[in-house]
Amino acid sequence: MRENGFSARSIMPRDKGAAPLDFVIAVMALLAALALGASMVAARAAEGWSSGLSDRLTVQVLPPETGDVQAGLDAEVRAALAVLNATPGLAQVRVLSEREIAQLVEPWIGNAGVVPGIPLPRMIDVLVSPGESVDVPGLQERLKLAAPHAAVDDHSRWLARLAGLADTVRYAAYGILLLIAGATAAVVMLATRAGLDAHHEMVALLHQMGARAGFIARNIEWHYFLSALLAALAGAVAAALLFVGLGSLEIFGVEAVPFLPPLALRLSELIWLAAVPVAIAAIAWVTARLSVLSVVRDFY
C-alpha cells in the first residue's frame, strides 16, 4: 500500500516553545551572516592593501651635501626621471610637488612650513603598469649611476607587515566564522532534538499505525527544514540590511569606522549570505532525519 504524504503542518503540531527556538536560530543566523560578511570584508581589505602598494614604487632623491644644493637636486631628479622613463613596465612617473612633500612631513614638523634654507628631499611617485613587474635591484643600480643620491623604495618591508596583518585579520575572521557556524549547527541540532523529544509519542503512534520510517522522517524533517529556513532567513536578511545600512552611511559621507576598508558588501558578496539560511536549514533537515530514523530504529 502506498503511503500518502500529507502536509507536514497537518501531522506535526506547532512545537511548544518553538518561538524562542526560532528566535535563537534567527540570532545564530544573524551572527553567522555577520561573520561571513566580515570575513569577506577582511579578505577584500587584505587584497586591497596588498595591491594598493605592490604596484607602486617611490624614488627619493636626497640633497647633495656639497655645492649648489638646489641645482644638484634638480639635476639628480632630472637624471632619475630619465632613467625611470627609460625603464619598461612603468605606467606613470610623477615628481611630487613641494606642497605635497610638505604635507607628507607635516606630522613631524608641523604646518608652519619648512625651515628656509633646509632643502627637503624630492620624491618621485612611480606607478607600475598592471601585470608588469620591475627589477628593483637593477633599477636601483641604474639610478645610482645617474643620480648618486637617489634611492628606490618598493615598500617591501611595509608590504610584508601589511600582508601579515591582512592574513591575520582574514584568518581571524574565518576562525570566528567557523566557531559561529559550529555553534549554530549545535544549537540547531539541540533545538531539533528537543522538538523531536516532545513528539516521541506521536512518532511511536504513527509507527504503531503502520507508517514507514521514511514516511515519518519525511514529514518531520520537512517541518524542521521549513521552520529553520524561515527563522534563519530572517537572521540573514537582518545581517544583509546591516551591511547595506553601512554602505548607505558611506554614500552619505559618513565613515563607519575610520582607517578601515568599506564595510558595505557588494551585491555579489551579499548573495553569499543566502548560503547561511540554506546551510542552517540543511543542518536542521539532516538532524531531524537522523534523529527520527534513530528513534524509529529503536522501535520493534
Binding site: 500500500m1 500518502n4 497537518s10 506521536m202 503512534l205 504503531q208 499505525m209 503502520g210 520493534y300
Partner: protein, 224 residues
C-alpha cells in the same frame, strides 16, 4: 489469523510477564481477553499488535511467521491491525475528524474517497457534531469513542481493544460492542481485553483468561 506457540515475554532483565502462551485466534473470531490487573493482558496485546517482539516462542500473524519476517514488511502488517489503546493516544493538535482519518491517510487513500465514511462513523459513535473539536475539549468517554472510530475506520483484518468501554456509559458501551460485532460479522477478527464481566457475559464470543502470564482458560463466553 493469530497463532502463539510457547511465547514468553520479559522486559529487559525483569521477570517473565507471559509464560508459554499458546493459542489460536481463528479468522473472524470474537474473543475477550480477561484476567486480573498484572496478568499480562496489555503485554499480550502489545505482542499481537507488533508493538513489541516476544522474548521467546513463535508468533504467526496473517500467515506470516514474525521471527522470519523482514523488518520492512512489518508496517504493512501493522496497517492491517486496528488498535484501541487504553490511553487513547489521540493526536492533540488534530481535529476529531483528522484523528479518525489518520489510518486512511497513512494507507494512501484520498480524502474524497473516505470523507463520507469518516463522517458516518463519527455519527454512529455519537460525535457527528464534534468533528472539528480538538481532543482536549472532549470528555474521557468521547475521546475513547474517537479512539475506537480511528481503530475501525480502515476496516482492519484484526481489531485489538484494551478496555474499550471503560469510560463510557452502559448504553454507549452496548452501542460500541454492536459496532465491533458488526465489524466481526464483516470478517474482522476481534480481540477485546476487559475487566467487565457483564460485557463478556452479554456478548457472543470466546473468553481467553490469563492468570499470572499463562492462558488458563479458552472457552465460549456465551453460547450462540
Amino acid at each position: 489469523m493469530v497463532r502463539f506457540e510457547n511465547v514468553g515475554m520479559r522486559y529487559a532483565a525483569g521477570p517473565e510477564v507471559l509464560r508459554d502462551v499458546s493459542f489460536v485466534l481463528a479468522q473472524g473470531s470474537f474473543t475477550f481477553l480477561t484476567g486480573l490487573s498484572g496478568a499480562g493482558k496489555t503485554t499480550l496485546l502489545k505482542l499481537i499488535s507488533l508493538a513489541e517482539p516476544p522474548s521467546r516462542g513463535l508468533i504467526t500473524l496473517f500467515g506470516e511467521e514474525l521471527a522470519t519476517a523482514r523488518r520492512r514488511d512489518l508496517p504493512a502488517l501493522r496497517r492491517r491491525i486496528g488498535v484501541v489503546f487504553q490511553d487513547f493516544r489521540l493526536l492533540s493538535h488534530l481535529s476529531v475528524y483528522d484523528n479518525v482519518a489518520l489510518p486512511l491517510r497513512l494507507a494512501g487513500k484520498r480524502e474524497q474517497d473516505y470523507a463520507r465514511d469518516v463522517r458516518e462513523l463519527l455519527s454512529w459513535v455519537g460525535l457527528g457534531e464534534r468533528m472539528n473539536a480538538r481532543p482536549a475539549t472532549l470528555s474521557g468517554g468521547e475521546q475513547q469513542r474517537v479512539a475506537i472510530a480511528r481503530a475501525v475506520v480502515a476496516r482492519p483484518d484484526l481489531l485489538i481493544a484494551d478496555e474499550p468501554t471503560g469510560n463510557v456509559d452502559p448504553e454507549m458501551g452496548a452501542r460500541l460492542i454492536r459496532l465491533f460485532a458488526e465489524l466481526n460479522r464483516l470478517g474482522t477478527t476481534v480481540l477485546i481485553a476487559t475487566h467487565d464481566r457483564m460485557l463478556v457475559e452479554a456478548t457472543r464470543g470466546r473468553e481467553m483468561r490469563l492468570v499470572e502470564g499463562r492462558v488458563v482458560e479458552m472457552h465460549k463466553a456465551r453460547s450462540a
